[in-house]
Amino acid sequence: MKTLTFLARSAPYGSSKAKALLDMVLSAAVFEQKIQYIFLDDGVYQLLAGQDPSSLAAKNVSAALPALELYGVDQVFLDLASLQARGLSTDQLLIPVTTCNAADISKMLAASDMVFSL
């Protein structure tokens, strides 16, 4: 088993990056790897409740979040500084996540076999 760390750092809808990383996470979960899924920088916008991309004819990226645990992705982290820098707070998020800081992320990176960032 490998430890794979995923840094979700892009806002949803402006590009396909949020969806592309989520698809990688779910694929790795099917193979039962140890997954660390970390939302930081603009990636924290992926967790916001109340997203409604229907008028963009786009799929709601956040719809998959509540199912992450079913897929065995239970190590989901949020960089608190990224959230606060954007004027957001944890009660605006769609799912409960463990908050972390840059030092925590550095430690998780050091313990990872592979890292993917989108």
Partner: protein, 130 residues
């Protein structure tokens, strides 16, 4: 008013092509004339006839083709951008000995001169997906 669009972004990868499509529909609905839609750089992928979208997503390639046909829009794909990205018509496929054409027939393939012509004959030119 006479408006032209320049589209730089591929469908699906960035949002620009979708924004342009919505803008184009709104401009037509408001009674403006769309002189030309010019697809440049990665924007030429909007004219790829071979793309297959998932059933639960809007097919942006089909949406463009349908809008172009319905309003008889002058939709032009930049030839230099298109060749490099594998968007070819039958003539080019034959000339460069490629096995197939790939451009949706509702689009014309031509040069940047068509973009200059659009600048000369439009009141406004709006760029999307830069």
């Amino acid at each position: 008013m006479i408006i032209s669009l320049v589209i730089h972004g591929a469908p699906g990868t960035t949002q620009g092509a979708q924004t342009a499509l919505t803008f184009c529909r709104a401009a037509l609905a408001a009674g403006h004339r769309i002189y030309r839609v010019f697809f440049y750089e990665d924007g030429v992928h909007n004219a790829n006839a071979l793309s297959v979208w998932p059933q639960d997503e809007q097919d942006l390639n089909a949406a463009w083709a349908s809008l172009v046909r319905e309003h008889e829009l002058d939709a032009v794909v930049c030839v230099a951008s298109a060749l490099k990205r594998g968007v070819l018509n039958a003539d080019e496929a034959s000339r460069y000995e490629k096995p197939a054409a790939s451009v949706e027939p509702a689009f014309d393939i031509s040069g940047l001169g068509q973009w200059v012509d659009a600048c000369l004959n439009s009141d406004r030119v709006v760029s999307f997906g830069v």
